[in-house]
Symmetry: D2
Subunit: 348 residues, 4 copies
């Protein structure tokens, strides 16, 4: 029995990717797509790649247009999801791709985002290994309100969480540097996102601990069992549209031998469909997962440096956003977790 | 009075860049260019962008073709420079862009490169601040044999050396992740360097402390005053031809306040032509230095993480190789250090 | 009832794309994948994006390994398909992605390819409007041997064929210039295909009428009704992995008014699933069809120049190769023509 | 004796490139740079690659700030140059990079641009071979007002003008398709110029004869001797920042043999520094001329199609704009034509 779906804020990149994936979903049926500035326009005028939506127009984003659906996906700027969510009380399942319901700590919200704090929703990272045992998946089964993780957060968290939980690595001096594609910045008209500025160039942003994803990383690694998490996190914009390649390093815990490291990751992910641990000596590139819901991870032990290096590749728009939203929604409504989600990348 | 120049191994990317820069040099006059496989071909058949070399052909690389020049630049694979250098004893100045004469420690050579060890030459990183005071520049004045640093090494070294020398940051747990362009891998026919594999994708290589540049980084930071250097170094290939964006982090030394950090870098580089420290809150992208001999550096203090983050952008073929070679040669023969070296990048 | 499938030559880009698409096909079941040099290797070692093929290895390409399947897709270099096809007489359906069975004229084969001529197979471009009425689709229903068109050929043919058939445009002075991605050149280790050579650069190849696709374009437009076809065809390699953007122009036939042009294309493609005629004033970009089996076409009449301009975007690996192969195979075995074929692109 | 220079509208890409090239010019000394929105900002805040301009700020663009210079370069949007030029009567030399003074025909201006028509200035394409004999160079010596050609126009004109003048090819059915980089569209905040939209994609614009460069192409080929020029011109935006690769085709004139074609181009360009005719069978790519003032041209005769194909590569910001401006200014003030202009490209 299929579920009717509305996607709010569907004129951006995350919203477009939700539509692309939902078009191939066997049980979710998109009935309504909404937008703010683009209300009234054909979907294909904004997303000319979404040929299957020919004939459909964006409705305005409002409580009225979203009412009456079984599932509502919100792909709105942060601050907007929280505001509208209150008026959607009757919707059985809401999945928020924005940040409004991710953080559990109001002070961290105030420090990194500001504005009104909204209480956290079930956190949509099913594969996150928990200190308490099991995975975050258990919190998603039957959930009615889900917060989709930040894309950078997903890449770093999946890269390091197994070793954190198993006390193989220490969380007190994590360093993560991410090569990120431009779609993560959204469809924003900013000079620094123009193609002429991005072609042939790599440059960082939000350097020095100010990126909004920092508290969410700490929160996740805390859930995996870390007491004191410190993370130096630097995203680097590189000339590609999609993809995150996270190089995350953590110090090897005292007394742990190199040959004990790998089995922690194998235990965490050996049975996961959407997390692929690569063989010893292999590391992923983002093209390997482009368009798919996979996180591909390679790990190495640098004994001279005393650090474990975890390299994680995800598609920021799929496993980093829209795919995670659908995966979590599948769990929430009792569908197979993998329904409608590609496992093969589009390459070359 | 001009100096006659030969460039050996000029059919690769580093050699081509030497030719490009030397074409605009007021005192170095290219007389001979040599190649191995391409001997006998017109220079413009291999480097169609070097229009000013129309009419010139590659000679074979040999002691005979290189003899009789005032300056010989070697742009050969490692292992080859050392072998040919012995037969060029009469050349007043040899500048080696390869690795053969960089390392001072034969054990490190054996561990990371293998093959015959060659004694170190004067190290061609003029701006390197030394523990003993002053800079590496003093070792280059009048030098007859110069080893050009590795490109990744230059980016990391320049990023962190001031704080290391001034004991602002600690060298015992450095983490550096570099977004690097494909030209650093040379003109090698390898599947993973095909455009179809690289477009729209980021992926690491030499993960886990095995990259050959590791001992050279340690050597440099040792020269800057560090006792025990450990460095976790991960290069990430991104879809651009040129450029290195190094994100290098080091732990803040105990007792150092955030506001004490910046002056160390200012003191080291305030008078340097080719190292530009960006204003507080600004960070470079590689396009800012493309085609130029500049290293542009931005630094931030992440107090929560207890780390200083230094972001360095260089053009791997210029400041990372050919520009460094010419800058060092300028010093060696007593020319103005800046002769023939662009300070403006080519952008967008 | 599903059909067992083998893919021969599956380690190249076309073969990889066949595997990607077949993984999502409801009725074709890949049992065997073969390769030449990579025989014995895991599929995911060569195609790390094809996670669903984990555990499968390449068999050698031979009559033995291909025997016994319902459908064999050949993704071999030209000259190789013809040779092996003879030994596969018992296979119910063979679909050749190479050139060996495309041309009907042995002289043209000799002039443009050389080597042994093989008789033509049913030509796999279902939407091609025929002078005789109807489309090429009718030749594919029940076919046992199918030749998949060349990718550039598909883009130009679909762009102009309606107007040719309806005598809206003339075929005697066609000019087509194509921006093409690098994957069309295959996984070949050639210097000019290295990422460093391709980034930030556009350059032509096969200039002046020597490209092997020229006779096939003439053959198709002849099938659409043209008597004397001449075509000036220039492919330009641009920095992207996938996609063909064909700008094809033909002179307006005498007496045809601009407002009569559009209806010809509308009549030809109005009911086609995989050819999308864009609204007046709209033109496609290759990202609109990336990963999908669509050809998106925009047309304009340049009255001052007396020419119709047809701009066609396809993904060279899908509608240009692997998607066309599967679409034709669907027709051949009586499945819905659209089975397993994406209509939405992957963007941004 | 050096000439004082002001650059108006210097915060865009054309203006930035003027500054880059002028920094290396031996006789032009930049005293003033102006901007509209960015007035008061440091030059390096807008152009972080122009390190040599550290310390300089943008003045507002006005008659007052531009007064008193020997040479004023205008890099303003069309419509703006004409307006301000009237107030700069006392400036010895004004070089306009915009369109306001290019067209000789007021009707064409009205049809393609609209707004006030300004009388034409000396046209800055020195190498243009004229029907009357000689080149356009003669009109530039001593000129006081110069209009720099449109970038696409330069590429097409240089590609075909020799054959037009020598009646080797016919001008009545020219077809030109250009692969163009994004910098040609300027630093405009438009969604379709965002990196995410451009990466990995090629798409046309101004299809069907509506591009503003059409009348200028006709004007130039008329100056080369054509009576009736018709040109079908389609620019295709491809994923690179700089560069134009123009594929221009014209029908071979009746009675002309293929072996008579080449000498026309050789005669026109054999002595030109900035136009390089490639050897038979060779064709340029844009990387060959990136950052340089060269136009590289390859020609082929497609006998079957009855057309000559001229492939021209230029850097749109150099030979297409800023380099042409400086080359023309050199001629105007009596300096060596090549002063300050690079002939080698920056590659790879």
């Amino acid at each position: 029995m299929s579920h009717t779906v509305a996607v709010a804020g569907a004129s951006g990149y995350a919203g477009g990717e939700l539509l692309r994936l939902l078009a191939g979903h066997p049980e979710f049926e998109v009935r309504t797509v909404t937008a703010h500035e683009n209300a009234g326009m054909p979907v294909t005028a904004v997303h000319p790649h979404l040929h299957s939506y020919s004939g459909l127009e964006f409705a305005p984003t409002s409580a009225e247009t979203l009412a009456g659906h079984d599932v509502v996906f919100l792909a709105l700027p942060h601050g907007r999801s929280g505001a509208i969510a209150d008026s959607l009380a009757g919707i059985p399942l809401i999945v928020d791709c924005g940040a409004d319901h991710r953080l559990t700590d109001a002070d961290q919200w105030a420090a990194f985002y500001g504005g009104e704090f909204h209480p956290p929703w079930a956190y949509g990272l099913p594969e996150l290994p928990l200190a308490a045992g099991g995975t975050q998946r258990s919190a998603l089964s039957g959930a009615r309100r889900i917060a989709v993780p930040g894309c950078n957060v997903t890449a770093i968290t999946l890269g390091l969480a197994p070793g954190i939980r198993d006390r193989i690595v220490m969380a007190d001096d994590i360093v993560a540097v991410l090569a990120v594609g431009t779609s993560g910045a959204g469809r924003s008209l900013r000079t620094e996102l123009l193609a002429s500025e991005i072609h042939g160039s790599a440059g960082p942003y939000a350097v020095g601990g100010v990126h909004r994803h920092v508290p969410e990383i700490r929160q996740n690694l805390g859930a995996a069992g870390a007491r004191n998490v410190t993370v130096s996190f630097t995203p680097v914009l590189v000339p590609m549209s999609r993809g995150i390649l996270a190089t995350s390093t953590a110090r090897l815990a005292p007394g742990i031998r190199a040959d004990e490291v790998r089995e922690s990751w194998e235990a965490a992910y050996g049975h996961e469909t959407f997390v692929r641990l690569l063989p010893e000596g292999s590391f992923p590139k983002t093209a390997d997962v482009l368009g798919s819901n996979l996180a591909a991870i390679g790990i190495a032990v640098d004994e001279a440096a005393g650090r474990v290096v975890a390299v994680t590749a995800i598609d920021n728009l799929v496993k980093g956003t829209a795919g995670a939203a659908i995966q979590s929604a599948n769990l929430a409504v009792g569908l197979p977790e993998t329904a409608g989600l590609p496992v093969n990348g589009v390459a070359p």
